[in-house]
Structure formats: C-alpha cells, structure tokens
C-alpha cells in the first residue's frame, strides 16, 4: 500500500532494513486485571529511582533542614527540658517527627510537580497510555513514597549520628518504611487533589506552601498532644501526620504507641487520597 507513494516522497528514498523494525511491528500483549496496578506502580517508582541516580543534589539539599531541626531545635530543647517527653531525651522524641516532616514535605512537593508534568506534556502522554487513572495516581503516590523513603534513610543516619537511640531491628525498620510510604502516598495525593481543584501552578504553589507548616505544627511531631490547647488537639487528631509520627516513635524508639490504629488510619488515608486524586485527575487533562 505504501509503495504507491514512494515516488512522491523525497524522504522515502533510503531503503528501510526490515530487521531494524522487527519488534516494532507487533503490539505487546496487554496485561489485564490485577496485574496492571503493580506494573504501573513499579514503572513510576523506577522513574524516580533513575532520576535520583542522575541527580542527587536534591537528596543533599533536602537533608539540610532536618539536620538543622535536630541539631538546633533538638539539642537546645534536650538541654532546657521544657517539653515533657516521657523520660526520653527531647532529640530522641523529635527525630521521628522530623523524619515524618521531611517525608511529608517531599510528598507534597512531589504532588505539586504533577502540574509541571501536566504543563510539560509528560502527564498528558501518560494519560494516553493504557493506565487507568487510579493506577497512574497509585504509581505517582508510591513513587513519592520511594523518594521520601530514601530521604528518610538520610535523616535516620543523621539522627543516629547525633546520638539518637534508634532501633536496628530489621522488622521494625521495615515497618518504618511502610509507614513512610503510606504517609507520603497520602500527602502526595493531597497535593494532587489540590492541583485538580485549583488547576494552575501559581495557585498550587501558594496553597502547597501554606499547608505544609500548619500540618507540621498541628501534629505531635514537635511536642506531645497533651500539652496542646484543646482546639489544636482536635486538629492534631485528624492530621494523618500525627499517626505517622506516633507509629515512627513506637517503631524506632519503642515508646508506647498505637500501632494498629496508626497503620489503620494511614492505610485509610492513603486509599482516600488515591481515590480523590484519581477522580480529579481528568480535570488536569483538560
């Protein structure tokens, strides 16, 4: 059929060696059913790991803030003993909070990046692949978790270097990884959801910046809930970050915590986040 046009096209003169194209003639067999989701999640996570391998500067620059928190805030309040921590040094109490905070910042920023990817056509093209919206968002959510997890490792190492008595029990560390990923999944979906509502870069940046600090302060990351004013306690109770911090404290320090509740809330929050963000993703395609 195409032979008929050969004479007309100047560019078509060069012979095409069929062997060069062999594989490109056959469409791949589609994955179906439950296999789609893990495949897409892996694809998105691989992208994040590749990017991180090419450029590690973000890993280092993002380590500065948590280090300062631990070093200045942590050391100072350990000496002052102003905050009741149930018998452990304040810096130990603070470390899980800072791990959660740095993971949250990364996740929220990662969600914000989706607007850049939309504007750059990267997201647009992914939306035209056989990837259901929920699978795409899950992929993004877990990719942010992978990114946050690598950052968490850096913060844990810094904390350990500062003398925080952390567990090295592998099972508990695995739990830490799951907690960090679930929390990041929620927070990245939170900002994707906001992106789906406000639709423009500038507005999203403003809101993203406006919510991160309050989410951090209105949680048990810096101080125990018990010493908060009543209204802040309420906010802290509905803030998934509090449950993330509680779980991290329980796992890393062995302090009393509510692991079952924490995991339950984090899984639920991640599912709600993924569902909401997926349903709004179509608005970002328009």
């Amino acid at each position: 059929m195409s032979e008929a046009h050969d004479g007309r096209r100047p560019g078509s003169a060069d012979a095409v060696d069929p062997g060069r194209f062999e594989l490109l003639l056959v469409p791949p067999a589609p994955r179906t059913g439950w296999r789609v989701l893990p495949a897409r999640v892996i694809a998105m996570c691989v992208v994040e790991l590749q990017k991180l391998r090419h450029d590690r500067t973000e890993l280092y620059t993002r380590a500065i803030q948590p280090a300062l928190w631990l070093l200045i805030f942590g050391e100072t309040f350990t000496h002052i003993r102003a905050i009741p921590t149930g018998g452990i040094p304040y810096i130990d109490f603070l470390a899980p909070g800072i791990i959660a905070q740095s993971a949250m910042f990364i996740a929220i920023f990662y969600g914000i990046m989706i607007i850049w990817e939309r504007d750059a056509g990267i997201l647009t093209k992914l939306l035209v692949t056989p990837t259901p919206r929920a699978a795409l968002i899950s992929g993004k959510a877990f990719a942010s978790g992978v990114k946050a997890l690598i950052q968490a490792v850096v913060v844990i190492v810094i904390a350990a270097a500062l003398g925080v008595a952390l567990t090295w029990n592998p099972l508990k560390l695995l739990g830490v990884a799951v907690v960090v990923i679930l929390g990041s999944a929620f927070f990245s979906c939170l900002s994707i959801t906001i992106a789906g509502i406000v639709l423009t870069r500038d507005r999203l940046m403003g809101i993203g910046q406006a919510i991160t600090m309050p989410l951090f302060f209105a949680s048990n990351a810096l101080y125990p809930v018990a010493i908060m004013p009543g209204w802040l306690q309420v906010v802290s109770k509905i803030n998934p970050l509090s449950y993330q911090v509680d779980a991290l404290r329980g796992l890393l320090l062995g302090t009393p915590s509510h692991l079952l509740l924490d995991f339950g809330v984090l899984i639920f929050a991640a599912l709600v986040g993924i569902t909401t963000a997926s349903s709004l993703l179509g608005r970002l395609a328009r």
Binding site: R9, G11, P18, L24, A43, K51, G121, R286
Partner: protein, 294 residues
C-alpha cells in the same frame, strides 16, 4: 517477512461524527466530521486556534466525548478508552520528553506502561531508538537534546508500543528546516515499514502538500475542505477558470495559474482568516511552544 499488518481496508482508522467540544463559551470543535483511512498520512491543517489540538485530544481520550462520536479502528473513544489507547502513539504539541532522564529511560518508561514484557524490553527500546537515529545519544540526558532530537525521541516513545495509529500534533513546530525534514523522513520511513496510519496536524502548508496523502482544512472547529492536495488545488483552479470565463475576463492558463494549498485555504476560510485567525492567547501559546523548542 510480511511487513504490512493485514489492513482491513473497509476499516477506518479514525472516524469522528458530529463531534463538538467547547471550553466554556469557546466552541473549539464544532460538529466535526472526520474520517482517516487505514494506512494513510492524513494532515489536519489550520491556523492557530482552529481546533486541531482539541480534535486530536478528543480522539486520544484525553478530553471526554459522548458515545458514538469518535471511533478509533472501530473502538469507541468514550466506552473503550483502554482499547483505543493501546492502538495509539501520541506526540503532543509541546515537547514532552522528561528532561531529567536519558533518552533510553524515556522510551523504556513507555515500553513499561504499554506492557512490553521484560525479556524483549531492552531490544524493543533499542529498535525504537534506532529507527529515529538516536542510538548514539540514547544514554545522554534528554535535557542535552536539540529540539529536533527531542521530537525524534518522542517519536520513539510513541513507536515502542507498535501503535496502529500515530497521532502527531504539530511535530515540526519551531524546528529549523533541516530538523523539520528529518522528522518527516523518520515519520515516513516508519510508516513505510509498519504500514501504520498517521494523523498529523500542522500549519505548514508546504509540509502537508509534500508529505500527506490527504488533507483536511480546518477553520473555527470545522473541516472546510477535504481531499488530496492536488484535488483541492485542481478544484479551485477549475472554479476560478469557470468564474473567469463567465465574467469574461482572460482565462488564467498554465502552471502559474494553479493555486497553492495556501490559496485553497484562503478561499475556504474566507476573509476571516487574516483578522481572526487565532486570538492573542493562541499566538502566545504558539510562541511559548516555539521558544521551548528553541
């Protein structure tokens, strides 16, 4: 080896029927009827703001359409989104490769999301890169690529899943003449080897004349003329001759009197073309695209 996937000649690659799409009050696509035949290179032509991108995005399932309006190889874009997407290779108007990854990684991502099995993934990605002559640059970061190379990389991303329909939205916008013809040569070579259907938008009339089997001239959301560029030019020439004869003016003759595709366009689009061909925002977005490429 048979390089042509058995084309069902009765089947249309794309068919749009009475397709509308509005952004608020802007009617971007206005009861569009379009039919792209299997195996052809179809050019959708039109000025800024004609609705080309919107029409393309309706076909790709990016924009929601009602049922029975858009079909891709018989699959309804509203009801069978996944089936439609599996048949498509899409290159959007703006440069869409991920600058923070290498060329190979960019293509591999698309191999993954189109379910290319692991055992043939590397080989398939290598072939896609080879087809667009990026083998040598495959392991460089995409941010070091020129505009023409990025376009070819996007072509490789679209080809790695062996689509039956390649949809290219202004593939040559903002490229220098050499990069432009290189992109077209690669499109052609691939089309020849695979027999895939190509739907391309452009506002370069010369490209359309040279490379497209058929063109549709689009203006304000509608197709105003459809055919091969020779047909369209011939029709206009004959009509002008007839008009001239009837008016008693000298009949234009010979090659110099054959109108160009651009003349045809001015004829079908009427006088509105110069004054209203795209509002400010269209021009601005076109500029932005051009500067991103530059």
């Amino acid at each position: 080896m048979n390089l042509q996937p058995a084309p069902d000649s009765a089947e249309e690659a794309v068919s749009c029927h009475a397709l509308d799409y509005s952004f608020g009050d802007t009617k971007a696509v206005d009861s569009l009827d379009l039919s792209v035949r299997t195996g052809e290179i179809f050019g959708l032509l039109g000025p800024n703001g004609a609705g080309k991108t919107t029409a393309i995005r309706c076909i790709t399932t990016l924009l929601p359409v009602p049922t029975d309006r858009v079909k891709v190889f018989g699959h309804d874009a509203a009801k069978e989104q996944m089936a439609v997407r599996r048949l498509l290779g899409y290159v959007p108007q703006q440069l869409s490769a991920d600058a923070a990854m290498t060329g190979r990684e960019n293509v591999t991502l698309f191999a993954r999301v189109f379910d290319v099995p692991r055992r043939e993934r590397a080989a398939r990605v290598a072939q896609a890169l080879d087809v667009v002559d990026l083998t040598g640059a495959a392991d460089r970061m995409a941010k070091t690529y020129s505009g023409g190379m990025i376009r070819r990389l996007e072509l490789a991303q679209a080809l790695v899943s062996a689509p039956r329909l390649l949809m290219l939205d202004e593939p040559t916008i903002g490229l220098d003449p050499i990069a432009r013809s290189s992109v077209w040569e690669h499109i052609n070579a691939v089309r020849q080897a695979t027999g895939m259907t190509v739907l391309v938008t452009t506002h370069y009339m010369d490209e359309a004349e040279q490379y497209c089997d058929r063109v549709g001239l689009m203006h304000r959301g509608r197709i105003h003329a459809l055919g091969t560029s020779d047909e369209l030019r011939g029709q206009l020439r004959d009509r002008r001759r007839k008009e001239a004869r009837e008016a008693g003016t000298p009949v234009p003759a010979g090659d110099t009197a054959t109108p160009t595709l651009e003349d045809v366009f001015r004829d079908v689009a009427g006088q509105g073309l110069d004054e209203e061909g795209g509002d400010y925002s269209d021009v601005r977005s076109a500029r932005r695209t051009a500067s991103r490429l530059g």
